[in-house]
Amino acid sequence: MAAGLESLKALVVEDNTHMRSLLRALLNALGIKDICEAIHGQAAMEALRDRKIDLVLTDLAMSPMDGLELTRHMRNDQNSPNPFVPIIMITGHTERYRVEAARDAGVTEFLAKPITAHNLFARITEILERPRAFVRCDGYFGPDRRRHEVDNYGGPWRRAEDLQDVDAR
């Protein structure tokens, strides 16, 4: 069956050779064969200059450029070849503040280690099935960070701080 996935070009950014191999093998299982590997964000940026990439899987903690900085570059650089590219951040750092930092950098999906095929495929499915709107505002460009619309909400204020702003006026 022609899956449609064979045509995709993926970039795997991970400093651990075993994790890179595993991610490559799992993408291969999906039929994705055109996979570029990089061991840190800087190498990934160079790879992105040379080729069109449809999907990025990146680790968070890497040196000299980590996954957050890489994501910000991909989203915000004027020379970024595709600022809308889906980015899945895969990391063992699952502390809330790190997840929020990844979200605020502009990642599309967050995947906690240990990796399972099921979880990785679920993230790719989510990207394909429910592509998110992108938001450009002061200090942020990336996928809409709100996952859910509130049906009966009509106002522009969405956060507690916004309401404090209203109270102060």
Binding site: G4, A29, A117, T125
Partner: protein, 161 residues
Amino acid sequence: MPKIRKNAGGAQIITPDGYPQMMSKPATARALLALRSAETAAKAQVAMEAAIPPMRAAILRYVDEMEAAGRDLKKLFAIAHEIRGFAETAGMITTGRIAEILCRYMDDMERVDKPLDTTIVALHASAIARAARAEEDDVRMGEKVAAELAALVARRLAEAH
């Protein structure tokens, strides 16, 4: 709905129709079928299983490095982070969980700018080493038992014929 609009807060919203998607809609439908197929799941399972032996060997090398790191806390954290990253994927569940606890402890203490209790770190490092080697021994034992049983069955089958 327009592909690009502004919300009340002034943010520009670009709907999925307003930017290039990974693939066309027909190709997406085919891809979703593939993502959910038993064939893909079976291939992924093979890939996961093939990854386990080199990962287990790598974990044991990390354990050796961790023991050699002594009181070098930065190095210990880096190694513990690597171990927690894929020990569970390699089937070394206990090892991964202890590494996770150690990483969280070290990370949290750094965030609140408090000194690490080196005894706690050493206890975790020691527990990671023991768990990793025990889990490896369990696998070896399991493989040995399986091999011996297979040999026994083969002998009995040969006798029966």
